[in-house]
Symmetry: C2
């Protein structure tokens, strides 16, 4: 039986729609990863009565209560005094916390105000959780057989605290045997189609393995979680299940673990000692931008041309007027000439190109909105693939970008 947790998010700015709460989403995933089941999330305002009521309700239901927010230096941050009252204890200055605040300010050559110093006051029953990136310490309470954890609302501070201190400790304290994960990453296949392909495999999964579909834009990740007593046995089960799965997924599979597609493309290019240049029409620079988002991309990415206007396709990339007139800008021959053109002009091993009807205007019966051609060129071959995406401009641009990166990958991995 998994232990249960509730997440209480404190902050008027979230209630009024000024801030999107991403903390509780991140926390849910992190807790799921150590087999702790979140049973409720609540968002409430910075008010003592509301906080107390939420704590009381959560304590009735869950083993672990995680609280974010309300630890700022100003008077409208009420989490700490309310927790002290809730546990019927006093607030007391924590010398270690005070020192840590001074150290943090010293780093940027400043001195804390009395307001910041007040952040070092903690309820006497709290264990301090060190905050290495901010001034509000976290707190760990062990009361009436339950664990209460209070963290700052700043996502960076909360995550750092969770990863360094709280998750390891929760996982130790609430360990229910062994938990092993395996992430299988796919690209280019919709969730429903993937589910169909692997239905028989999924139905035959051994009992200790749970499967979750984690779809994001144009990608689906399959997360297998195995729980039991013997970690090495679970690893073996996961190995066997993965081995049976991969042939079913085929080319759509691109990796396990945390490496994103754009990182993988970089790794592949570096390994092959290859360089790439981009020639983009409908994606307008987003393929180049996605490659550049990876630190160290200058090792393999040289540059690109955004050839939005057909004039640029001809003048800068050397696409022939005849090809444009015969096939139109959104066509296999044109993206092939674009990919080859940019490869030659930029003297790279590989060229990749996009041209499509992103929408909302510009569609025709032949080439409706969502029609996209991706071109690829290296020294040995030049090819093109056609995709048909959606009616939504932003979505089409993002899906085309992903498809271009994927075609690059496939040409090295096939």
């Amino acid at each position: 039986m998994a232990h249960t947790a509730e997440i209480i998010t404190i902050g008027d700015e979230i209630l009024y729609g000024q801030t999107l709460d991403t903390n509780s989403h991140w926390l849910s995933g992190a807790l799921d990863g150590i087999n702790i089941k979140v049973i409720q999330k609540s968002t409430i305002g910075d008010q003592e009565e509301q906080i107390t009521h939420a704590l009381r309700e959560a304590e009735k239901r869950a083993d672990i209560i995680l609280i974010t927010g309300g630890l700022g230096p100003t008077n409208d941050d009420l989490t700490k005094p309310t927790l002290a009252k809730y546990f019927d204890v006093q607030l007391r200055l924590n010398e270690e916390a005070l020192q840590e605040i001074y150290d943090l300010f010293a780093l940027v050559g400043r001195v804390p105000t009395s307001m910041n110093e007040k952040q070092a006051e903690l309820p006497t029953n709290a264990e301090k959780i060190k905050n290495t990136v901010g001034t509000a310490p976290g707190m760990w309470f062990q009361e009436r057989g339950k664990v209460f954890i209070s963290m700052p609302g700043v996502p960076r501070e909360m995550k750092e605290m969770m990863q360094r201190t709280i998750l390891p400790r929760l996982s130790e304290q609430f360990a229910t045997g062994a938990i092993v994960h395996r992430m299988i990453r796919t690209v280019g296949i919709p969730e429903s189609k993937l589910a169909e392909k692997i239905a028989a495999w999924e139905a035959a999964l051994p009992t200790p393995i749970r499967l979750a579909y984690l779809p994001s834009l144009g990608q689906v990740k399959l997360r297998m979680t195995a729980t039991g007593e013997d970690a090495s046995l679970l690893e073996k089960l996961l190995d066997e299940s993965t081995e049976a799965l991969l042939p079913l997924v085929g080319d759509y599979y691109y990796g396990t673990g945390t490496t994103e597609l754009e990182e993988l493309v970089g790794i592949i290019l570096k390994e092959a000692d290859a360089t790439v240049a981009t020639a983009e029409s409908c994606t307008g620079g987003m393929v180049a931008g996605t490659l550049v988002s990876i630190p160290g991309s200058s090792d393999y990415f040289v540059g690109g041309v955004v050839a939005y206007d057909n004039r640029i396709k001809m003048q800068v990339l050397g696409v022939s007027k005849q090809t444009l007139e015969a096939h139109g800008a959104v066509s296999g021959p044109v993206v092939q000439e674009m990919a080859m053109g940019v490869r030659k002009k930029f003297q790279t091993s590989v060229g990749i190109a996009t041209s499509g009807v992103a929408g909302p205007a510009g569609g025709s019966e032949d080439k409706p909105v969502g029609t996209v051609w991706i071109g690829y060129s290296d020294e040995r071959k030049t090819t093109a693939e056609k995709m048909v995406f959606t009616k939504d401009r932003a979505l089409n641009i993002r899906l085309s970008t992903l498809a271009a990166l994927n075609l690059l990958r496939l040409n090295f991995q096939r």
Copy 2:
């Protein structure tokens, strides 16, 4: 006194961290816009007991209870039977809802399954809310002096229902006099600095006006909300306050309303009958990509060069080797030559360029990570501006992109 609302989100996938809940954030903002105050949000699992408990708690506190999710066609969607039990009524087939489901399927040439048909069953005390984009109707309940509203969890369906039916009706039923909004958009100034600049103005705001700071990446929106009896009086107050505010904000102000910076840039270029080309190093195509994100951008955006490697800066954009050697790639002279180079090569009225140290590597004492130069060139002048951003690569790229668009704007508006 504003009326109060609570939002209940139903769905295991949100509790387990598989889906990020953006619905309740959107709902909060929409309700705030009609002066309804959200006092709590709860996320719970697809379980009758949990749903009933959450309803009971919310009913104690709020005037309006909004529920999203759990209206799918499968058996684990329990919202409808639970609501029927909660109000002690039966489920009954709603002929109009059934017809709407048939109509929707006919549009895509399909016939509903018996599971879909079941979606037309509603609690007898529910008023149907039409779903024009999906098969699950919404429901409006008026019980014990409170309003309960149940909507599908699919964001597109929920939003459509809110905008077409629910918001107008809530605003009619719970109108507390007049509410008028004014949004003042700024770019390039941090929230704290803006707050300092306008502190005296803010302190002197007339009572009917509330001010909210809505910060997003590199931008801060100021939302004034005026509430009272007489809408025209409120409009006048907002006009006066805006008039007093704008000189304080100066050049950082770029517009009111909902027009984003990249849209505004497009409008400005079109009005001036001007065209633009981009030359990007550190932003790697994101300036072009942001321009292309706007439908119809082909009217003024011609294309660009991503000159990530210095070789491309020289060979494609014509930056001189001497300038690169004398000043380095991250320098005013280089971005000026890039901007002018792309403008001439692409034959546009304007060229805009970026070069910076995005990080994490590549920083020096002179040019630490976060140092970015933006270049601008038109027929009359060529200029450059230096910015110093953060230590974070992704953030630096996004802030540089925004700064480039902003420099473009300023050169037309100053």
